[in-house]
Symmetry: C2
Subunit: 779 residues, 2 copies
């Protein structure tokens, strides 16, 4: 074993371990500063698709304003419910994705109103046409765990905070007008007729309102239950089913003729208004718990988690959780740098999300209720995105327990999957089959290789193998037969072949570590399947047909459905061999040839209109598309081929052009934190190009000083001496005082704690970092 990242952890265990008590005091101050620096509006405009509302780290509830509810075909930009350019708020719903390119959720929308009750949300462009209200950004306040806004049309001040399973609302109503709260079970991100398959709203005798809805959205047949309580007794309510043209409504329940006499309603278009006459000029608190299991479980969540009417206490608790989580990194720099950095770090802790009731029950991919035994169940796994940098980052900044819980959740899903597969793109326990590959595999392998042990590794390996051998999924049967996915039988075949090969390599790594030589050998072979996609004639990765020939005609600029690629084209996908960059270089005819191709990627003149049909391909620098994940490792590839300084230059350009501390500051969908995790790693100065390798490629630091407060209690500092805009290049580096001549770090080197110190300079030092090649170049 000649690579330092494979050394036993114990060699480093004695280094630089600060006393725990000091770390705690320091962490607290860091956390407070970090929390204050976060701007939840970053990403709510432009392409980020983030939301500004209230949640706790990895919380089940994400309580946030929805500015418009869009029909399916226009929904892309409203995937998080909120767009910074909008001037209206429809209401506050309890579940949101952070940064997705597809939309769903938006469950249980509440809207506090004063005056006349309106039941339809109306036209956002016509104020007063429905219950939707105008608002101004000047009235908004957003912090991690807290959001507030004034609803102009009603003169209602609305404040939101959250605990793990409960959304907390505090509404201040104006004097002189009747106060109401609307509950609209019809709205979703996104909307289409028939999306709500069934819903129910019930007013219990103690005033608790419970219900559920079942939607056919991104996840089919998804059920969500809720329970809510008001701090004042409602003076009355009206429950409506606004659906027309119902073939059979059934016999009318008691009070059917009068919406005000109804105690329960069920149907597909349910909306209700609750009256709070005595709340005029006063505050009303609402607590809303959600549950994947049942109304009774939602009540139990509410009672366990939110026994008191203490909004400020809940807000303080959320703030405290965020301060602890964000304090994992002490980042120095300008106010704007800190705003960008900590908002990015904040955005990396909005998924995966808790998906389990207080009693440990949750709903699995079989849509059945299960009991979590010995772990906390999470869902919302955007794995095609997040295996790259998000999960590796969480390994460094979150407790091992949380990372183990993620993996135990993946393993539970595999056991409960009707297909025996690990999740592909799952939320609320349900599989969506979105994107390609089986990237739960590298998440598990990376965690295992990094020493996370809170799960059954042998069982995990079996689950990984079962997933990688499930023939009916996306051409795996043919991939096993031919060594590649044939494009005449399966779409986006080049991307699939490449991604399967990488995932397979991580299985081989973990199998090797576990002593499962047969599995290791089989998957090491499969890891080489990327070669079947490489066309030496054109120098691109391409899709073959079953007969072995590449599909013709071929145009490396073509992307999208029907092409050889997933959300990309040949210019973007042809560098995807993180497990064997040496092999990739050899295929191209050597390192220089590969370097020349990389330059062609970045320096091309590309008319962005070529991707107008592809919503996700944004953030272009030449063909490099930072707004989507297949490009995320490409700038780091220069460092593999002996030119770390070129990586440094490209990263500078990307950081300058693709991120900004303003609402439209994210060049692409944040994708549950992957865009932000890329930022955090890159700002620190290194990036996990090859999950499963335990190696980080050093790019260049963007902060003068940063300290990782690691889950093992140690600190790892990165110091960039002399760093400024005029001095962006690494001149030299030391690790714990000793010269560091390689452009990569081992995970164990970080975990051991210590100090990585860069000396920055104006011109590139073309000799630095070339003495030793990173893992997949060094075999």
């Amino acid at each position: 074993m000649r690579t330092p990242w494979l050394r036993p952890l114990s060699l480093f265990a004695c280094l630089l371990a600060a006393p725990a008590i000091a770390a705690t005091a320091h962490d607290k101050a860091v956390g407070e500063r970090a929390w204050a620096a976060v701007d939840p509006f970053i990403g709510t405009g432009g392409e980020g698709h983030t939301y500004p509302g209230a949640t706790v780290p990895f919380g089940m509830v994400q309580l946030s304003p929805d500015t418009q509810i869009k029909p399916r075909k226009e929904a892309y930009g409203w995937a998080a419910g909120y767009r910074h350019g909008d001037q209206t708020i429809v209401g506050f719903s309890h579940t949101h994705f952070s940064g997705t390119g597809h939309s769903d959720l938006g469950d249980v929308l509440l809207m506090p109103i004063s005056g006349e009750v309106k039941l339809e949300r109306g036209d956002a462009t016509k104020p007063g046409s429905g219950y939707t209200s105008r608002f101004s950004h000047a009235s908004e306040q957003a912090q991690p765990g807290y959001y507030a806004v004034t609803l102009q049309d009603y003169d209602v001040r609305a404040e939101l905070t959250a605990s793990a399973r409960v959304g907390w609302h505090r509404y201040h109503f104006p004097k002189g007008k009747p106060a109401h709260v609307l509950i609209d079970l019809r709205t979703s991100m996104y909307d289409y007729p028939g999306k709500v398959q069934w819903s129910r709203l019930r007013v219990r005798s103690d005033g608790t309102v419970t219900g559920f809805r079942e939607t056919r959205g991104w996840a089919p047949g998804r059920q969500l239950y809720f329970a809510m309580r008001f701090s004042r007794r409602s003076g009355g309510q009206q429950l409506h089913d606004t659906e027309q043209d119902v073939v059979y409504k059934g016999f009318p329940p008691p009070g059917e003729k009068d919406p005000r006499q109804r105690a329960q309603i069920e149907g597909r278009q349910i909306v209700a208004a609750f009256d709070f006459a005595d709340a005029a000029g006063q505050e009303l608190l609402v607590k809303v718990a959600i549950s994947p299991v049942s109304e009774d479980n939602a009540i139990a969540n509410l009672e366990a988690e939110a026994p008191a009417w203490d909004f400020d206490g809940a807000r303080a608790a959320a703030r405290s959780q965020w301060q602890q989580a964000l304090g994992a990194i002490d980042a120095q720099g300008s106010a704007e740098q800190q705003r960008s950095f900590y908002t990015a770090l904040y955005h990396t802790m909005l998924g995966p999300t808790l998906f389990m009731d207080h009693d440990g029950r949750y709903r699995g991919p079989d849509n059945a209720v299960h009991q979590a035994k010995g772990f906390t169940h999470y869902s919302t796994f955007s794995l095609w995105d997040t295996y790259r940098a998000l999960h590796p980052l969480l390994t460094l900044v979150q407790p091992e327990q949380r990372n183990s819980d993620f993996i135990n959740s993946l393993l539970a899903s595999q056991r409960q999957s009707p297909y025996g597969m690990l999740p592909i793109w799952a939320f609320h326990g349900q599989e969506t089959w979105c994107m390609v590959g089986y990237h739960a595999v590298p998440v598990i392998a990376d965690a295992y290789m990094k020493g996370i042990r809170g799960f059954d590794a042998q069982q995990a390996l079996d689950a990984m193998v079962a997933t990688a051998k499930h023939g009916p999924y996306d051409g795996i049967a043919q991939y096993r037969e031919l060594g590649y996915v044939p494009i005449d039988e399966e779409g986006e075949a080049a991307s699939k072949t490449l991604e399967y090969a990488f995932d397979d390599w991580t299985i081989a790594r973990m199998a090797q570590a576990l002593g499962r030589q047969d599995v290791a050998a089989e998957f090491q072979r499969r890891a080489g399947n990327w070669q079947h996609a490489f066309d030496a004639k054109t120098g691109f990765m391409r899709a073959r047909k079953r007969d072995g020939a590449f599909r013709e005609p071929f145009d490396p600029t073509v992307s999208g459905y029907g092409s050889d690629y997933t959300e990309g084209n040949a210019w973007q996908y042809s560098w995807y061999v993180p497990q064997d960059v040496a092999g990739l270089a050899r295929a191209h005819g050597g390192e220089d040839a590969l370097l020349a191709r990389l330059d062609q990627v970045f320096d091309a003149k590309v008319d962005p209109k070529i991707f107008e049909h592809m919503e996700d391909i944004t953030g272009l620098i030449g063909w490099y598309a930072h707004g989507n994940e297949p490009s995320h490792h490409v700038a780091y590839l220069y460092a593999y081929a002996g030119q770390p300084w070129r990586s440094q230059a490209r990263l500078g350009a990307i950081m300058r052009s693709q991120y900004a501390a303003r609402p439209d500051g994210l060049a692409g969908n944040d994708d549950l934190g992957q865009m932000s995790a890329w930022y955090v790693f890159t700002a620190l100065g290194f990036y996990p190009v090859t999950p499963g390798s335990n190696q980080y490629i050093i790019g260049r630091p963007f902060l003068p000083r940063a300290q990782l407060n690691l889950p093992n209690g140690k600190q790892f500092s990165v110091i960039a001496e002399g760093l400024d805009d005029a001095h962006p290049y690494i001149g030299s580096a030391t690790l714990n005082g000793k010269p560091l001549e390689r452009a990569f770090l081992g995970h164990e080197e970080i975990l051991a704690g210590g100090e990585l110190r860069f000396h920055m300079q104006a011109e590139p030092n073309k000799q630095w970092g070339v003495a030793e090649r990173p893992y997949s170049m060094s075999r």
Copy 2:
């Protein structure tokens, strides 16, 4: 206390108690004869709406052939799925109502086919247009717990039997053609687009097929889960979603492109075909368990109840259960009399039905899962029908435990009801709000007054009172305010006032017995509210407006929606004061006036076309409509007014014209056994006109000899000496050898065991039975 039915039971306890061992041997022989006499085809034609399929007494599964699937507007006649006049079979589904006038269920339809797979059921009038097959009655065999038929189009012999929660299929396939089993989750009694809100089918790795469907039918949002196993391994399957025009189908699961590669499918129009190549010329067994809770629970039900592949054993067990149940009455008479009688008795044991898994969990009226503690949960309560004679009959022929379970199920529903109400018309745990009144109340009161004690009586009384005071339900608020339901605020107001008043009287009875004087007094007052419906001017019960005036114009022949009555007119509803026939007679000006009115009912010349718009009003004798429940007590009213012989004559006419031992032999919907319970009681010679009174009115016997083998181990015999068509009148009677001069019996007299002996004669004995008046005439 001057009436014998209020005497303590102990006075009779020593009489005629036969040794238990002898009774058992006798019962066994009786049971075998009774079982052999049942003809499940009776009622499957005409108006009966019964099904010929396989079930056990009060079983959760009712596995029966469906001959056509009708759209909603034509569905009335196909409420049980099967019509004897049809020549096709669509398949075998697992849940059916016996005798309803509204339709639903028909869950999980299986169809064994040979040859080419067809996925659509086709047009029943065009053989071969779909998978529906022709059949002939000659190939059918139906017994309690067993059904068999040959499907002509496929040359498949299909046999069905059932255990409580499992439907058992045995198919014999022809040689030389591929064998398949279709599973169609789209079909229902009845069908309309969108009825299936969601469904799922999953093939597990061990070959078990599980799934669920959620329908919006008579009960909204009803979920049913299932699990099935085949005795042979399927060689392959194809899973289809045939719904077109789906707005959003989601990302395709593995194998989506090929229905043969799918392991799971979900959607709204699911159909699947399973191949059994090796079953050609062979038998295939299928076991299908259902569950209200989950797929896992369905599997558990399957494993607990049907561990072996023993169709014949299951059939024998079902037969044994039926023999035990039917042996409760040893009825003598002609073969045709026995066929009618035992088929009627059989039909009284098809509801309420078990609705609980092996682990005690079930789904309640809040659509949540509950755990039954200390009782077995039943549902399918057609209470407007069955409080009259079905539940009183089951009190005599079923163990106290079963009757207590029914009541505990009602009480659990009340606790779990979003409205705090006892069931009105419930099935599969769900409330349908069908029909009027709150007739769980007389069921509970009658059971309590008859000494059934396996429930908390005080809690039951509270539940009854809560139900009777739930203001929003069907004008109860106004009824409490005004003493009647005002027709200008609530439809069918005359019927509601009358039925509430009777139900209230039973609350008063039970409250009195429990020493709850305040409740007794309040509800005794409410029991007199029938008087507010009586119009002395016309002599009819009518609906008043809020201002106190009767609604005008008035036509006593008008029935149906918008009228003053529920499934009836003034001629049918005006005699509904079973709690105070004396008062009714007084209101009419005396017994003679009432008698004259009763004659007007029976002797009127009525054109049946007047009820063409009312599906349920059938079986006319004058205005008397035996096919619907409001008439069921009317013929017995003569006995109250001193003319038992006129009851005897009318009953003879009804028995002759309204029942026959052939498929179209029921003049009206069997209504979960109420029509049949009327037959059983009337054939025995007495009828419970006033549930809650512990009194049976003696009509006349129709069997030469019958013996009730009572749940307490005693026997009560009814012997009709000299009975034949020419000697239909009671000349005299003895009870345990002593002259009986009254036309009524106390429940305690029956429970004590003994012998009621009639001496029949050709001419009426107008003096017999007039010496003493029944309960509600005697105060």
